[in-house]
Assembly symmetry: C2
Homo-oligomer: 446 residues x 2
């Protein structure tokens, strides 16, 4: 079927051809991209083989003044702009899902290559968008969608394309890392640190996308798709946020030689029927202080990858902000523009492995269970029985203190499935000896 | 000059075409690459769009048995092999310079894309090889030449192609990091730790390439070329090794809140005449314990990049070994093979900035100067004068101990040029008050 290759080869415009650029969005990232397209114009022309020319800027509110932008470039009709004949390359930094989905689809179908920073869009609709790109041979690049300037999409798509990736584990949301790091370092409460993060501009007025894990879930979906050559969308990601993390949890983590991080986790999983599946999930977890991710402080991001041949790799840096996001967008712009000049395409979506999404109940990890129990003879045996009844074996049991309320018991398990652990907790909650299961937090990283 | 683009566009062989591969070298890396080309054949075919077929394996000694390799594939004539019509892609993992230079040149001129792990070859002859690649439109990829499986060539060439890189600072030699880390952690001497590294297989019987910094210098040349879009070869790299690092130096570093690492450093430098230049150098340096590179232990590698928009980034992992090197080679193989199937090329050498190599004397850094001085009134003033005479200002002065030999004085300077520091040391050596300048070690990282 050699003739099937015909649509995949695109001839170049040739050296020194000017590339027409449409910029969609003039928020923090858009304005920085626009500024740098001008400031670094000579460098970009040299690196690409021809100059970039911004020929249109789409904004939602035309009446708002846009300093430094030629008013004639402005339009509120992104859909028409991206289909114009003089546009070769579209930069989408609008945000949201439905409108950019419509516009990016139209651009790709018109044969325009697209660079986007929109993680929610890619995580929800990469299949549809990839098909649109495939139909015309256009490029669809999205390095900025995960951890901004930290190269991780490129390394997974290209550098590690010859390896077998076993797992990806990342701190991919700066807001929640800032909050958890501050809780750990300063002993402050979640509410205090959320208020501080909001004041410093790390958290939005409505912090739900960050603290409930949705932002990290989009990134987990993208990482899992790339790592395992399968299609994983944001709705496939089991997602838990950090709202319920208490100072008691942080202190318990410290006592166990760990810190607590909100992790995006992507793994190959053996399903209940023995076949392979893929799991992508986001939740707060205990991470041993000796693990490289434990020392990722403040609003920094880091992605930890384990691959069969490469071993353990980590990528670390600024995962958000105008400058870092613009850096990633512009790296993609240069790559896409080179293809427009020289011909050819970047790597496209690769989903040949088509691994199914494993049931969350089949996922295996370790657990830190913090309980308030009766302080009497025989309690430990009852509790141990509840675990072993559901095939969960205990690694450590620690009695923390006793008072009028009872004794506090902290249990760390060996690896067990989510299903077995959930059933164990249900059994614990039925025991008279157990007054309260205060928290169940997973433990990740070795 | 649009027609100049003609030779840069290569049509693809088309989907499902078989790609003929020549493997040059069957040492640790070559054998691992060969094994994985077979083991992961289905994955590679799916990722590339067509199967890879190893059609020849060049070795120096045909009489040696090669387990698992079809004897009909073996040849000792690499030069003929790479020019054969049924070969599309050449993997060079021979090592050395002169012979692979000849073979890789011939392959590129015959239009065969080349993947190499050969840092010495790329660092010495990238200009000539890039021209050969340019003449036919072939790809020349070398991710494995720097820090094995840690993606760093790709990120510099592609992910950061839209940014302005300010500096690259890396631990790029595992052997010396193992030795220095063990000296720091265990208080052992250089000779003891070199012996241990040799026994563990981290160091070669002749350790000179590692401990004298030549291996790191090749990598520094490649990193500087990529980061600054200029041609930097290994002979442009100021290189100092770690043979002279003593336990006294390690203890002095510890007292200063630092550790000692062998660093590859690449910077933009303002030359004496005010024009910009580029500096690439390798030397042992004090690194503050708070810096991310300080915690890179054992034989791990890490590359720390600062870019104008991206800020601080770090890439960390295994920088050597059969598996990690094969991972990087095979990532390049998949990328090059995709181009052979789909048409187009990867990014080529970019030297448009053509920054000159700055004189080492113009490089600016801080210095840790450890001296034995007379223990009498007025000595500190004399020594301070020697520094200020050459425009070197002092940040801290610490008197360590006194005995019959005199007093030990440890000075840390503010930033100063190498030239000024060198003249200062010459002046110090002339002073009666100075019995010995024990060591001058640079300080890097903030």
């Amino acid at each position: 079927m050699t003739d099937a290759s015909a649509p995949t080869i695109r001839p170049g415009k040739g050296l020194d051809a000017t590339i027409g650029v449409a910029l969609l969005g003039m928020g923090t990232v858009g304005a920085e991209v626009y500024r740098l397209l001008n400031e670094r114009a000579d460098e970009f022309a040299a690196r690409i083989g021809g100059p970039l020319e911004v020929r249109g800027v789409a904004v939602s509110d035309l009446s708002r003044p846009r300093e430094g932008v030629d008013p004639e470039l402005l339009t509120d009709d992104a859909l028409s702009l991206v289909q114009r004949e003089d546009i070769d390359l579209v930069i989408e930094v609008i945000g949201g899902i439905d409108y950019p989905r419509q516009v990016v689809n139209a651009a790709l179908k018109a044969g325009k290559s697209v660079v986007t920073a929109n993680k929610a869009l890619i995580a929800a609709h990469s299949g549809e968008l990839s098909e649109a790109a495939e139909s015309t041979g256009a490029d669809l690049f999205f390095e900025a969608a995960v951890a901004a300037a930290i190269p991780v999409v490129g390394p997974l798509l290209r550098s590690l394309a010859g390896d077998k990736i076993e797992s990806v584990m990342g701190i991919v949301n700066g807001t929640t890392n800032y909050i958890l790091d501050a809780m750990y370092e300063r002993g402050a409460s979640y509410d205090e640190m959320l208020a501080e993060a909001t004041e410093l501009g790390y958290a939005e007025a409505d912090p739900s996308a960050d603290v409930d894990g949705h932002d990290a879930a989009s990134k987990a979906a993208i990482l899992a798709s790339l790592a395992f050559h399968s299609r994983v969308s944001s709705e496939d990601v089991h997602t838990e946020g950090i709202r319920n993390i208490t100072t008691q949890d942080i202190e318990a983590a410290r006592a166990a030689g760990c810190t607590i991080k909100l992790l995006a986790l992507c793994d190959r999983v053996t399903q209940a029927d023995g076949t392979p599946g893929v799991s992508a999930r986001v939740y707060p977890a205990l991470v041993p202080l000796s693990h490289p991710l434990a020392s990722v402080s403040e609003s920094y991001n880091a992605i930890f990858v384990e691959a069969e041949s490469a071993g353990r790799l980590m990528f670390y840096g600024n995962g958000a902000g105008g400058g870092p996001t613009a850096s990633a967008v512009l790296g993609d712009v240069v790559a896409v523009a080179r293809n427009i000049i020289h011909g050819g395409r970047g790597p496209r979506e690769s989903t040949y492995a088509a691994l199914p999404i494993a049931d969350f109940g089949d996922v295996v990890t370790r657990y830190h269970v913090d309980m308030l129990v009766e302080d009497r003879v025989g309690v430990l045996a009852e509790i141990s029985n509840a675990f072993s009844k559901h095939n969960v074996s205990l690694k450590t049991v620690r009695q923390e203190n006793k008072d009028d309320l009872g004794a506090r018991l902290v249990v760390v398990t060996h690896s067990a499935t989510e299903k077995d652990l959930e059933e164990t907790v249900a059994t614990l909650n039925e025991l008279d000896a157990v007054r309260e299961v205060h928290s169940v937090i997973r433990m990740e990283g070795k």
